[in-house]
Symmetry: C2
Subunit: 446 residues, 2 copies
């Protein structure tokens, strides 16, 4: 059992999305099939998650589609814009968005997250991704998508450049003395002068240091390179969490790596993805689960699975034959997810059809009443498989059900907050605002 | 006098900014010196402009500062994020943001404006700029800032690529048939396959066509290249409008160029910048004007002037000597603005000090009571110098004063709307939603 003390609290994120994270959920009778670009839907979900005291909202992203892509990816808000819109309708909940380092410029990325952090008064977070679909390159005029290992080198240089820009302004650089007309103290505005392998950025950033100093960094690297990157730079880690055992293995591994980089455990939260299905009774939950499965077409499940294999066409293989030998397509794409899919298929002797449907369906462990789902959450939380979760809404109104049935149980058990501790994401995650590196240097020189 | 018919209506934009567009205004006792990153200030101004029935809000932008830059540029929200935040607190007013083609990727630009157009339900506009400070290149790892002429070639290719991406989805591409599970009609989702001199972008865009089909295009090119670009692609033109004569000349010229590109006059609105100072009485207005001038320090006025000359250091010249020979620094930077400053200085025999203060001070013509300022506006409007204006707030609460004193006079004279005509920017500007090019092609083929 766990050695953690009572005050350790669950961290909960909610994936803010339109249709389709369950691949068939938009077909539900209650689903709004236009949700993906319906601002009212987003504002409703965001406010609801805040009523549920979630730590943060998360908007995922990708930069490449074809006409075969899943509904979830085809049509979506760009994260920085939708998070900025949500910011002024919420007060406490964090606002985390994905942005790819492979196809963006550090100066613009730094500005947009700093701007979101000001707009939200300290609630911005960046999920740093490298993008795993090679077609992304074609939307950005690049000769080729960089190989997996290079992508993580780019990521490290990109992220540290952005973080350097976020420290351009010392906290007291803005003087605005109306008498003398001095607006800033020029000694407290710093040029970065970064010259690296992939980027060269002079600075300073044209926006003052934001309330959190440094927006919070999220990362979901799962490969060897990905884990080393995550452990070193991220404040919280997303993971697919297919089973409690695989999550425990990941948890132990990433915490060890993080510790090696000098990070305290609370600075490195492990957050598996969670597609819960909650009902007022067990029967209702099971019926909802069957309904969710019934909405998934096999062709859509195949497309969803293919995504981890760089959109390799799976319709060429017999559906009811053994899982095909396609590891090569995953290796340079979503390496870890593709490896896990293959491993599960081998271990359980699944056909292609079974593997695809398994991948697209919510896990049984998190289907049940509020108490049952809270039990499962607690089991993961107390057994070093998770510091919290990132919740997907598998069916319409499942966020409502989670808040009605699961959250109060977690609160009663002392596992989850009843009120926000702070108005910043750092505050709610228990992370300090880091001292500006330039202020620190000045202090050390003095 | 004018040949325009009565129903022609003024178009009014408001520059949404924090401190400093008047270069000294942040020193005013009522000014909030932290306004530039104060979301509440922005929301207040935005809602107020909407009460005043303004056509649109405009957020300017630039991507390079040094510790010598003016307060206005030093610290500012990134336009797409702040406009998204403002979007859900307004219903009718347009949301126009600057974004530079020299340091951005068409795929990301297309997504962010389409996203803003969805969030605002049809109110997005893009002010296409080429950036005129060579230091911008150093923030984006570019060996050199492209020369003036090349920047406009980049602009044309960038903009048309973005516009192509905005047509990726035909209006009826989203089928979302819950019965069959068909989400889109793949025949109505189009790849762009653009391969050009500066960009290559495959598409399709991962967001459905937005309510306006094509967000509205604003442009302020004033050089020969700039005017040709504007006239061809923009729906509305910003211009500095230093005198009614120079605006008339610009107006005649740009309308002629636009007509040559097949554009109707109402598709090509000329909007000079307007720094009005309005008082309840003429004395009050004059006192406010003197106060505004008194807040400007000569060193700040020099920096403001230097901006049109690629931040060339003007402190090396005698302040009370003749205007120095610095045309070369402006030619590849803000060519037209630098030329105009030199021309005025020569014509009126101004010293460097006088030229700088003149440049930083509001024009006398628009200082006065509501009736006086409305008279000046009407004079420009009816004499082919302007189709409307883009208002800068020269002192705190001048937006309030303009709405209280000037707008009702314009409304009484039938020059300005009492109620919004539409909930989209295109609707309020009288611009149709263009047919999707792919739908048109299909129609023509049939
Ligand atoms: C909860 C969760 C959310 C993720 N969100 C995104 C995302 O928004 N965009 C993206 O490109 N990848 C996303 N990923 C994938 C990761 O960025 C990463 O590519 C993946 O976990 C494989 O790891 P690797 O890159 O180390 O092979 C997510 C992963 C998880 C577990
Ligand atoms: C009202 C107005 C607003 C402008 N806003 C911006 C801006 O936000 N960013 C920018 O880089 N330039 C801005 N400009 C400058 C123009 O984009 C352009 O560079 C300038 O008018 C010189 O024209 P030229 O490029 O043809 O020489 C603005 C100009 C005017 C008149």
């Amino acid at each position: 059992m766990s050695t953690h003390q009572a005050p350790r609290q669950l961290k909960l994120g909610f994936i803010l999305h339109g249709v389709g994270p369950g691949w068939g959920d938009w077909r539900h009778p209650d689903a709004d099939p236009t949700a993906s670009t319906n601002i009212d839907f987003y504002l409703r979900q965001a406010k609801l998650a805040e009523q549920g005291k979630f730590d943060f909202l998360f908007v995922a992203d990708s930069v490449h589609i074809t006409e075969k892509s899943s509904p979830h990816y085809l049509n979506r808000f760009e994260p920085l814009t939708i998070l900025s819109a949500v910011a002024t309708h919420t007060k406490n909940i964090g606002l985390v968005g994905t942005l790819t380092v492979s196809y963006s410029e550090p100066y613009t990325v730094a500005r947009q997250f700093a701007s979101l952090d000001h707009i939200s008064r300290g609630r911005a977070g960046w999920n740093v991704v490298t993008s795993w679909l090679s077609g992304s390159a074609e939307n950005y005029g690049k000769p080729a998508h960089p190989p997996h290992e290079v992508r993580y080198r780019i990521a490290a240089e990109h992220l540290t450049t952005v973080q350097g820009l976020w420290d351009s302004w010392e906290d007291d650089a803005l003087v605005h003395n109306k008498e003398t007309g001095q607006f800033i103290d020029p000694a407290k505005l710093h040029t970065l002068n970064h010259q690296g392998e992939f980027f060269s950025v002079r600075g300073p950033l044209n926006i003052a240091r934001s309330p959190q100093g440094q927006p919070v960094i999220f990362q979901a690297g799962a490969s060897e390179d990905g884990r080393n990157f995550s452990a070193r730079y991220a404040d919280a880690f997303f993971t697919e969490g297919s089973t409690i055992e695989s999550s425990q293995a990941y948890y132990a591994d990433i915490k060890k790596r993080a510790a090696a980089f000098g990070r305290a455990p609370h600075q490195a939260s492990v957050l598996p993805a969670l597609r819960a299905i909650v009902g007022a009774t067990e029967e209702e939950a099971q019926a909802l689960h069957r309904q969710a499965e019934g909405l998934i077409r096999i062709e859509d499940a195949l497309v969803a699975l293919a995504r981890s294999f760089n959109e390799h066409d799976l319709t060429q293989y017999p559906l009811d034959g053994p899982f095909p030998d396609i590891a090569q397509y995953g290796a340079d794409s979503n390496r870890s997810s593709s490896e896990r899919i293959i491993r599960t298929a081998r271990e359980e002797n699944l056909t292609l059809r079974q593997a695809a449907l398994r991948y697209a369906s919510p896990r049984k462990e998190f289907v049940g009443t509020g108490v049952q789902v809270a039990d499962a959450i607690q089991r993961w939380f107390l057994n070093d498989a998770a510091d919290g979760f990132i919740l997907f809404e598998a069916l319409p109104y499942q966020l409502d059900a989670f808040i009605t049935h699961v959250v109060p149980v977690l609160q009663e058990r002392g596992l989850f907050r009843r009120e926000y501790e702070a108005t910043t994401l750092r505050g709610n995650l228990g992370l300090d605002v880091p001292e500006n590196r330039n202020t620190a240097a000045r202090r050390q020189a003095a």
